[in-house]
Symmetry: D2
Subunit: 268 residues, 4 copies
């Protein structure tokens, strides 16, 4: 089984990158399952139903989220019916709409997709991601050994700890949230593919995709500033491809994808 995962789609620039490149990437890599993180899809903050549908139309099978899940109020209008949207598992169970994982069926094979959020420097105090994900993984493994975790977290420490903690229990732990792709992709000794952060999909010339002048101004002035998505910019698309053994769930390979003006996409 092959999984294609694309990181945080951001605003119009990110959406255009998805409609442009996702079909090409799917033709080239022929993934059985395509997952896209959409926490910044609608103007940088959350996602609304129109954009959710557009990303599915462009080829995503599952859309994962993160700390920005609730930033666009329209989420509450459609999340409960959105079967392909997964928000972080460890938000409070009593009050949080939506689901923290889903299972995708590809012919006879199933892939569970979990969205999980870190607790360090995230500004939200959620249930401990380690002890929250562990019993879910155990339960899911009764159904399928193929489990993909989008771990939305800030620090490399929490991300590496999660990957080693789950090594051998899930097929992949791939980080999101920092919007910068790391180059540490590897398969851990017990078969879990890991990449600290897959990076984001949006404006190449913003700061994490936001308007440069506003972010720099905030650092210089320390006053409240409104950030917007940097619109006048070429795009970056960040992703990775993971090959699993569908019988054992073990990852065989993980490779990064990075498309930007310095690394343009070439059709074969």
């Amino acid at each position: 089984m092959r999984i294609l995962f694309v990181g945080d789609v951001m605003g119009n620039v990110g959406q255009t990158a998805i409609t442009t490149y996702l079909p090409k990437l799917k033709r080239r890599y022929k993934p059985q399952v395509t997952i896209v993180n959409g926490e910044n899809a609608t103007r940088g903050r959350g996602i609304n139903e129109a954009v959710y549908k557009d990303i599915l139309t462009a080829g995503a099978d599952v859309i994962t989220m993160g700390n920005h899940t609730w930033d666009n109020n329209e989420i509450f209008d459609f999340i409960n019916g959105a079967k392909k949207l997964v928000r972080p598992l460890n938000f409070p169970p009593a009050t949080t709409p939506g689901v923290g994982y889903t299972i995708v069926k590809v012919n006879a094979v199933k892939l569970a997709v979990i969205n999980l959020q870190g607790n360090v420097f995230m500004g939200q105090n959620l249930a401990d991601p380690f002890t929250t994900v562990q019993p879910l993984v155990a339960k899911l493994r009764e159904e399928t050994p193929n489990i993909f975790v989008d771990f939305h977290a800030e620090t490399t420490s929490e991300k590496e700890a999660m990957a080693w903690y789950l090594d051998g229990q899930v097929s992949a732990v791939v980080g999101t949230h920092t919007h910068v792709q790391t180059s540490d992709e590897r398969v851990l000794p017990n078969g879990t593919a890991f990449l600290s952060d897959v990076g984001f999909t949006g404006p190449y010339n913003g700061i994490l995709g936001m308007t440069r002048e506003n972010v720099i101004q905030r650092f210089l002035e320390q006053m409240p500033t409104r950030f917007n998505v940097q619109e006048d910019s070429p795009a970056v698309l960040s992703g990775c491809v993971i090959d699993l053994d569908g019988q054992s769930g073990r990852a065989k390979k993980i490779a990064r994808i990075l498309i930007n003006p310095d690394h343009p996409y070439f059709d074969d």
Copy 2:
């Protein structure tokens, strides 16, 4: 002018990686200046004089530091005489020993090396790195346009902001501290080479180089734990090579170096 930069050397595993690979890398890439971040060199916390000298002997011209500069008390015994050691510029000027930058002369060309620390999520409240580095850069440019900044910071946001802020004023902004190499190397429009984080040099099978079981235990138990460097591990070495135009100071190219068991080093 070519610069070789190697990220946070960590403990014995990192030191051995330096003595093993730094001479090879220098033979291959023939840098005029070699810079090594040494904030974790002595048992993961700070650096003492013996290790400082060992890294110089292995081929470093300058050793940069970070938030862990003061963790090993032996630093106070030799920092004031250590002409090739640079600690973060923006520690309090009245009380901090050592220097925040140095100038290396290579024949007729000079390279200024600045060590700078971010303020977001770093646990130390230092002078604003933006307004602190700006006047120094202006002053240094009267002497040389070739300026390298090791920006030791946690968040991708602060790192990208610094790089765009200094674009055209310095030759390179390369991040350290997260211990994970990013894949976003690029030359910004006005000639500044940028890489969010160069990564670290130490145990490949630790968590940021520290003992896995202890770091995971801390996340699970939330109790005080003593971390040590993971000693029984193969090594990773993380670095980058930057080519500058020595007349203008503009970067021409930046390339990452990553050596680990999954990406072994081959002599040409």
Copy 3:
């Protein structure tokens, strides 16, 4: 029912204050239950068995703790047999020794004492204190309506939120951790007594009880510093007295106690 609560006992100065004043305060106020926070009792960091017993001997019925519970390793030697010691409820249940609440019997009346820790700015990511304490309170109320909560937290926001959240369900929410007594004692509309922070018991001329020169030095130099308890100092003792209706559990009154050189203790 009358409760006497005394805040964070710190080091030798704090222990001496307890042995000196706790008997006097008990003679004057005649509380049915005396509770003392002991998270800083042994040299400022945690508590060992000898000091635990000394505080009980001085008159405490229950000793509550906080984020410093585990700082002194000797805690692990005796916590499981320490029937009168309560550590924060919301530490991870699978790995944490000790208990998060206890029930004290006074003739026919029972008082449950809960120790709970906040999550904001506490440096430990514990289970959400709100949703963790709520089902325990519901369960305890089947046994007794008299419930005292030592809420060990940093921010006034989290403390006030907890008090209003539990108003009418517990008899008292009294904060600890900041080491400074607040003057906002009140009985909330549905009968819960509240005080944001009861303050600490230890050196009056330290900074939160720690050596002034070291704490100021840390702020000035931003380097690692070892803090110790300020020993050459007169003492402060901080506490409060709460009167409950033992039938309904409703608080009738809460009054602060503050003894220090500026507010000396006078026997009647």
Copy 4:
């Protein structure tokens, strides 16, 4: 010289408390200088010109601010002409409008009023308050020994450290920001009056003055919530009175003022 200081006025409830009680307090205590913190005066976030003038009309001589200074954009319309408004001194000097201190003349005697912000857990990285305020204090002392510092900070540690650091150099260090009054008022050995936090002036039945249900909801749900000032509530007014020796600048006495439904105001 007598100073009356009143803490963070919040929204309509706070403004009404000021117009109701400030004239009464001035008649009773006859302060030479009245200082009011106004960072939350206009709907809880910042201050606009109309409210600024109202508070002056009600009897304030100086209005101090804090981290919320810039939350209401109208501040930029009038701050540069607002001779009686002082914002935190340690915002970036190059970009911040307004002033960080002012000098009030009372007959032949002068009082300098400084507004200063802490760095710990404040969400803004400002210049170190210790080394920023120190040279200003030295300069001001050439003009007057009477110096009042409103230290707007979160932690008791930073507040106590500042007070001991400035002991003997300023007349008073009084904290604001937590919105809860502390009971630790004292005159330090070298003559500086100190109170960790003077408390706030606004709705008695909010959480830090904000709507209870929204603040509790944020803790329970961990989703973005809009807080508003709790309007349907009686008021609390928090303040203190400080007596100085106008010749030496030494404080002679500091006393707290707290008016709320549990501690109603009685005219003599």
